[in-house]
Structures are given as structure tokens and as C-alpha cells.
């Protein structure tokens, strides 16, 4: 027994992230599995097109790809595009069915908080209104491969065969 708070359950390595539930779900209704396939395809498309996108659109979700993506301009505009995604969605996880675990060393977890802070400042909104998931996705959307490679080299990747 330890007096005071226990370990932070959300700080250490996850328990078998893919255990249980995720696999073997005989009861998943058919429509759920089919609903996933188009978005998976779009995700694959998007990976190839990401470089062409301007930064402000980087955080857009799959559902808007066919309407606001210049590469697919011949697609039918059956959805209005005026309302930005973050206002249109009902939950921050809407359309984000692609779950990733984020393992961070302490210093980068702190750095992430600092980024949250700075981004909220930049947007002139309360930090509370800024969603970490959005920021993380925007980080991916705006990532600079060269800078990433440079950092990884510093961490020792240059010695990896």
C-alpha cells in the first residue's frame, strides 16, 4: 500500500492495446463493417494526396474529401461545404474511427501541452475549447518530413541500418 495517489494509469505503457474487444467481434452488425470500408479507402487516397493540401485544410476529415478536394472536383457536390468540420460534427471523435495510441516520453507530453497552449493562443480561443485530437491530427497534416527526419537522426536514427 502506498499513501496518496497511485501511479498514473494513463501515463505508463498500455495494457495489451489490442487485447480483447478489438478482435473477434462476431456481433458487429454488418452495416458497421461496410461503413468502414469507404473511409478506409479514402484514408489511403488521402495519404497520397496529403502533400498537395494546404495547411488549413489539413485537418479536414474523410467525409469532406470528395467535396473540398481539388483532385476530385468532378465529384457531385451533394453535401454543403460552408460549415467547417469542427462546427458541423457532434463529437470530437466523429469520423475518427481510426484509433491510435500515442506513446510519449514525459518531456514530449509536456511539450504537447505547451503546443496546445500556444495553438489556443494563436487561435485566440480558450485552451479548454481546443481539442487535443484536432491538434494531433493537425500535427500530422502539417508535418514536415525533412524536419521529422532531422529530429529522428538526432535521436540516433542515423545509426540505424
Amino acid at each position: 500500500m502506498k499513501s496518496g495517489a497511485g501511479d498514473d494509469p494513463f501515463a505508463d505503457d498500455p495494457v495489451e492495446p489490442d487485447d480483447g474487444g478489438a478482435e473477434g467481434e462476431p456481433e458487429v452488425p454488418a452495416e458497421e463493417s461496410t461503413a468502414e470500408s469507404p473511409s478506409t479507402n479514402e484514408r489511403a487516397d488521402r495519404r497520397g494526396q496529403r502533400d498537395d493540401r494546404d495547411q488549413s485544410r489539413g485537418g479536414d476529415d474523410d467525409a469532406t474529401d470528395d467535396t473540398d478536394d481539388a483532385g476530385n472536383s468532378d465529384d457531385g457536390d451533394d453535401e454543403p461545404t460552408e460549415i467547417p468540420w469542427v462546427l458541423r460534427r457532434s463529437r470530437v471523435k466523429e469520423d475518427r474511427d481510426n484509433v491510435h495510441q500515442f506513446f510519449l516520453r514525459d518531456e514530449y507530453s509536456a511539450a504537447e501541452d505547451a503546443i496546445m497552449d500556444a495553438v489556443a493562443d494563436e487561435l485566440d480561443i480558450r485552451e479548454k475549447d481546443l481539442k487535443k485530437l484536432d491538434v494531433r491530427e493537425a500535427m500530422v497534416a502539417t508535418a514536415d518530413a525533412e524536419a521529422i527526419a532531422a529530429t529522428l537522426s538526432e535521436w540516433g536514427y542515423e545509426y540505424v541500418d
Binding site: G4, D7, V15, G24
Partner: protein, 282 residues
């Protein structure tokens, strides 16, 4: 991230009222709070916060379905807002009564399907898995689990997900306290789930200043357990919470409590307790 489980070995000692009042106290101190009600009994935290309407609907999606990896909907949709700003609740559901059976079934399937013959599906890690997969830590500052007052899978999941416990105790009657018993309880939990459990404190509830209780309180103070506050008996205030389905704060603000002035001191104690708990996590 502030995470803890309120637990007492005996029912009816004020575990749920303590959890509810602390949730409100944290929220009023500016935190986003998620309460997870793991108590299948009718008089649970979900009842107090009036979010228990789906509990007997067998077709409704509920936490148990997510714990066994058979959700019927989005996890986010399980979370209910309460009248108390900043306090959200994942309500209890009658399916929790069969949590053990459901977890065992799920384990059987998972273990059968796993390529490794020796694979053991971790039954008590499922709440933590669900919270992580749904990024709950990103959306809330405080998580309070309120399982029922019996050892078992709900308690083990709660402890494994929160790692810290707050132990409301009654110094007499059915909650008769033995420090030895508390020690054994915590050690037992640690062995059961294989982690070290942090004890945020023991909180005597309904203290009446009888000789027996005074003696027990002294013993407790001399023990290794931290006693952040002692709540005197507040029968009328607690009864009003259940009658009006609100927190102690709600009872006093709506002037439903005849001893309002006097009871403000009780709210201060909840504030202090909440602040003390937050301090342990810094």
C-alpha cells in the same frame, strides 16, 4: 489526470454520496469530471444525478457491452451530462449484475480465438482499455469510479483503471471499522489486480462522537492511513440528497435544507477534501 475509486466494504456508509459531492466539488473548482457508476444497485450515483433511465432497458448500449468488446454504439454516447455543470456520468446498468458472467464469456471467446494457447484475457483491465481507446483522459481532468460495496470484477476494473482509492468508512454499526481490515483490503486489491494501489485517505462518514467512535477515530489517526477530513453525522442533509436527487451543494443552494447555514461547513469540507485529493496528484 486525477483518477480514483471510492470504495467501502459495507454498503450504505455514504460511499456514493461522498463520490457525488466530490464530483461536484472538483467541477466547481474548474475541472471536467467524469463519474463512472459501476454499482448495479438502484440507489446509485446514476439515480442521484438522474441519469438512470436506461438502466433496465436490456437493449440499450451500456458500459458492460463496451467492457466485453461488444458495443452497440459509440462509447461517447454512453456519457450523460448532468444538471451539475462539469459533471458527466457513465450510468449504471442492470447488466452490471452479470458483469462477472459476461467477462468470463468474453474471456472464453478471446482466449479460444487467440493464437497463443496460454493467452489469458485480462478481465480486470477492460475499463482502462475502454477509457484509453476512447481518449477519455483527453477530455476529462477527473475520473471517479463508484463500484458497489463488494469485491469483484467491477471493483477490480475500477481499481485497475484508477490506481487510487478513497475509503469512506463508518466508525460503528455495520461499517464497523478495523484498521487491520482496511490494510487487508488494500493488500488484497493489490494482489488481485497486480498493481500498487494508492490510498488517498480514509474518510470517516457519519461521525457521532460517541466513546466508541472517538476511540476508533484515535486509532485510525495513529495508523498509516491519511484522514483528510471527518464528516459528522449529516442524516438530514444526506436524506435530502436522495429525496431531491442532487448533491449536497444542490440541496443547500435550493434551500431544501433547514439547517442550511450550519451545513455550509459540510460543503467546505468537501471542497477541502477535493482540493487535498487534487494535491496528491500534482
Amino acid at each position: 489526470m486525477i483518477t480514483y475509486t471510492t470504495y467501502s466494504e459495507a454498503g450504505g456508509v455514504g460511499k456514493t454520496t461522498t463520490a457525488a459531492n466530490l464530483a461536484v466539488a472538483h467541477a466547481r473548482r474548474g475541472h471536467d469530471v467524469l463519474c463512472i457508476d459501476l454499482d448495479p444497485q438502484e440507489g446509485s450515483l446514476s439515480y442521484l444525478f438522474e441519469v438512470d433511465d436506461d438502466r433496465s432497458d436490456g437493449t440499450a448500449d451500456n458500459l458492460v457491452r463496451h467492457l466485453i468488446g461488444r458495443p452497440k454504439g459509440e462509447f461517447r454516447d454512453l456519457i450523460r451530462e448532468t444538471d451539475e455543470a462539469g459533471v458527466d456520468v457513465i450510468p449504471s446498468h442492470n447488466m452490471l449484475e452479470n458483469l462477472t458472467r459476461n467477462l468470463m464469456k468474453a474471456a472464453e471467446i478471446e482466449e479460444d480465438m487467440h493464437p497463443d494457447d496460454d493467452y489469458e484475457w485480462p478481465k480486470h483491465e477492460q475499463l482502462l482499455r475502454v477509457l484509453r481507446e476512447n481518449d477519455v483522459p483527453g477530455d476529462y481532468d477527473v475520473i471517479i469510479c463508484d463500484p458497489q460495496a463488494t469485491p469483484g470484477d467491477a471493483l477490480n476494473n475500477a481499481i485497475f483503471a484508477t490506481r487510487s482509492v478513497l475509503l469512506p468508512v463508518e466508525l460503528s454499526g455495520k461499517g464497523a471499522l478495523s484498521i487491520r481490515g482496511l490494510d487487508d483490503l488494500v493488500t488484497g486489491l493489490e494482489e488481485e489486480v497486480g498493481i500498487q494501489v494508492g490510498v488517498l485517505g480514509v474518510v470517516p462518514v457519519g461521525f457521532k462522537r460517541t466513546n466508541t467512535q472517538e476511540t476508533q477515530l484515535e486509532e485510525l489517526k495513529a495508523s498509516d492511513f491519511d484522514l483528510p477530513v471527518v464528516f459528522r453525522e449529516r442524516a438530514s442533509l444526506m436524506q435530502n440528497m436522495w429525496d431531491h436527487r442532487t448533491s449536497a451543494y444542490g440541496v443547500l443552494e435550493d434551500e431544501r435544507e433547514p439547517n442550511g447555514e450550519y451545513e455550509l461547513e459540510t460543503l467546505e469540507k468537501y471542497d477541502d477534501l477535493a482540493a487535498g485529493i487534487e494535491g496528491e496528484f500534482e
